[in-house]
Amino acid sequence: MFSLKSLTKTYIHRNENIHAINHISLEIQGGSFIAITGGSGSGKTTLLLTLGGLIRPTSGLVKYKGLDIYGLPPEKIADYRNNTVGFVLQTFNLIPYLSALENVIVPLLILKKSNIDKRKRASTLLKKLGLSSRQDFLPRELSLGQQQRVAIARALANDPEVILADEPTGNLDPVLKIEILDILHDLNKQENRTLILVTHDPDSARRADRVLNLSNGEII
């Protein structure tokens, strides 16, 4: 499904080259669960965002189903972000002045569907994540676990084939951590979505089909 060829992202910081990811070549099977681990600054986030169409690599290719993503025009890359991948982040990134339901609708706003259909879709997803009674709550009126579940519902809005999660349980206590992890795991196992999970946590990594351990931008 994903095919990375000699993928490199180099930042230039004060005349110094930082190879955040360094010549990574890799194949990822559709429907698999990949955990990315490694020390801080090893390039985990950079790799994940590059897969998600958010960071243009310095060199190398990211192919999704044979398509060179960064060879596409910006509008097509935006479409890819909108309907092929769903992001779940450590910081939730909910829009503070929108309700839970509205936050889930955000990715649908730019699509030509009826408002009622969008609302129905968002409502179904919130229900599935056990939040039907919290639809009209603002993010600050929700617990952390609930906020992350809203973020997962938003990631699922367009029924993506790939879930990209960057330490989604990093801000949560152990009980909530397991709860969120179970949800993501189900999305992989029961709904056959490819799950790529960046994590520091060995328990989480252990559930994955495959673990990529990064160090200095390289897989070791």
Binding site: P74, N83, L89, V106, N115
Partner: protein, 409 residues
């Protein structure tokens, strides 16, 4: 509420969310528009005032016999040259734009009881509308009109005024005179008394209000009576013309000279120039201020929008993450700036119009009425300002590095 949640709701909700800062942005733009509109209104008032002053002075173009000067005309010597009365007809039938009123006059200096006065023959209807200071007197009961276009109004729209003028023409019969205030005072005459001129007896029907000009020492009688009295035949010493100031700058004098080649056509130049100069200066000041306010307003809105983009970096990064395109980010900010412009334009129009009405009333006693068209201009200028101010911040916004979604705040 949620059922209608759509793309534009993002804009409305964000505006509502940060209404405090919104208010200060709105205030800036509103005050800018109010200032422009206030100055515009005051400029109009001052133009009107200048026009009115000019109007009070009466005619601003003189058609004189060839070789005569304006001072010859005013001294009105016995042997002063004359022109045929037909010339009035010539001008009238040529339909020159900007000729608002024609007033033929025959003036001769006369001696009554050792007092030197000027006997002036006039055609009252013309005389009347080119000397509004007299119209304004209670005696005549006719309101003051401003220059350019006033005579047209007299003829086409205001039937009351027409009525009043007719009544006065009828009242100035062959044996009646009007007296300037100084003439009446020197000779000790008042309304209802009689006066002997060149062997004929006339009834004084009006004493004109004081103007502080040479007009005060005139005795006015009907033109044709004076022509008979002086034995000049159908001759006149001058035609006073009320010319519209714009037409004068457009070369009305030259056109008059073409029609009447053997005459001298002069303008009361300094007055006209003052008028034109003042108008030009006022327009220039307005334009400069408009430009300054557009620049300052744009910077101020730009400052607000910049801060707005900065505080929404993560939010914008999130939109990009879920697939928003540049076009959508532009849309978010340009719709917002248009909404701000519309609101600022309406508020600014309201403040500016009220301020101008107040200032106009307090300092010039002029009634300034709201002009609906100004509302449209206010909104357009406000949208221009908010859009200009938004261009650079939105340029930044679409280039936000979406990777910053990872940052904690």
């Amino acid at each position: 509420m949620t059922a209608d949640f759509n793309f534009n709701s993002l804009i409305w909700k964000e505006l509502y969310q940060r209404k405090g800062r919104l208010l200060s942005g709105l205030l800036t733009i509103s005050l800018g528009i109010a200032v422009i509109l206030g100055i515009h209104s005051i400029t109009s008032v001052s133009k009107q005032l200048v026009a009115e002053k000019l109007d009070l002075l009466g005619a601003n173009i003189l058609v004189l016999p060839q070789g005569a000067s304006a001072s010859d005309y005013y001294s009105a010597d016995v042997d002063a040259p004359t022109i045929p009365e037909d010339y009035v007809e010539h001008i009238a039938t040529s339909m020159l734009p900007g000729v608002d009123n024609l007033s033929p006059k025959l003036s001769r200096s006369i001696q009554i009881n050792d007092t030197r006065l000027i006997l002036t023959g006039i055609l009252p209807v013309n005389e009347l509308s080119s000397k509004p200071i007299w119209q304004s007197s209670d005696l005549m009961g006719i309101d003051l009109q401003t220059a350019c276009g006033s005579a047209k109004q007299n003829e086409s729209t205001d039937s009351d005024q027409k009525q009043a003028i007719r009544a006065i023409i009828e009242s100035l019969s062959a044996d009646e005179v009007w007296m300037g205030s100084l003439a009446a005072q020197e000779l000790g005459k008042g309304i209802g008394t009689t006066i002997d001129l060149e062997g004929h007896t006339f009834k004084v029907t009006h004493v004109l209000p004081e103007t502080g000009t040479i007009e005060d020492s005139r005795i006015f009688a009907h033109l044709h009576t004076v022509q008979e009295l002086l034995g000049t035949g159908a001759q006149i010493s001058a035609i006073e013309i009320m010319g519209c100031c714009n037409a004068i700058s457009d070369g009305l004098l030259g056109k008059l000279r073409n029609i009447l080649p053997d005459t001298r056509v002069t303008s009361i130049a300094h007055i006209v120039n003052t008028q034109v100069e003042t108008n030009r200066m006022m327009s220039r000041i307005s334009i400069i201020l408009l430009i300054i306010i557009i620049i300052v307003g744009s910077f101020s809105i730009g400052n607000y929008m910049w801060a707005n983009v900065e505080e929404r970096r993560k939010e914008l990064g999130t939109y990009i993450t879920v697939g928003f395109k540049r076009y959508h980010i532009y849309k978010l900010f340009l719709i917002k700036s248009t909404l701000l412009g519309i609101a600022g334009g309406i508020i600014g129009y309201t403040i500016g119009t009220l301020a101008a009405m107040f200032v106009g009333y307090m300092f010039t006693e002029m009634v300034i009425t709201p002009v609906a068209q100004n509302l449209i201009w206010s909104i357009l200028v406000a949208i221009l300002i908010t859009t200009l101010g938004t261009l650079y911040p939105v340029h930044r916004a679409v280039r936000i590095d979406p990777a910053l979604i990872m940052q904690e705040i």
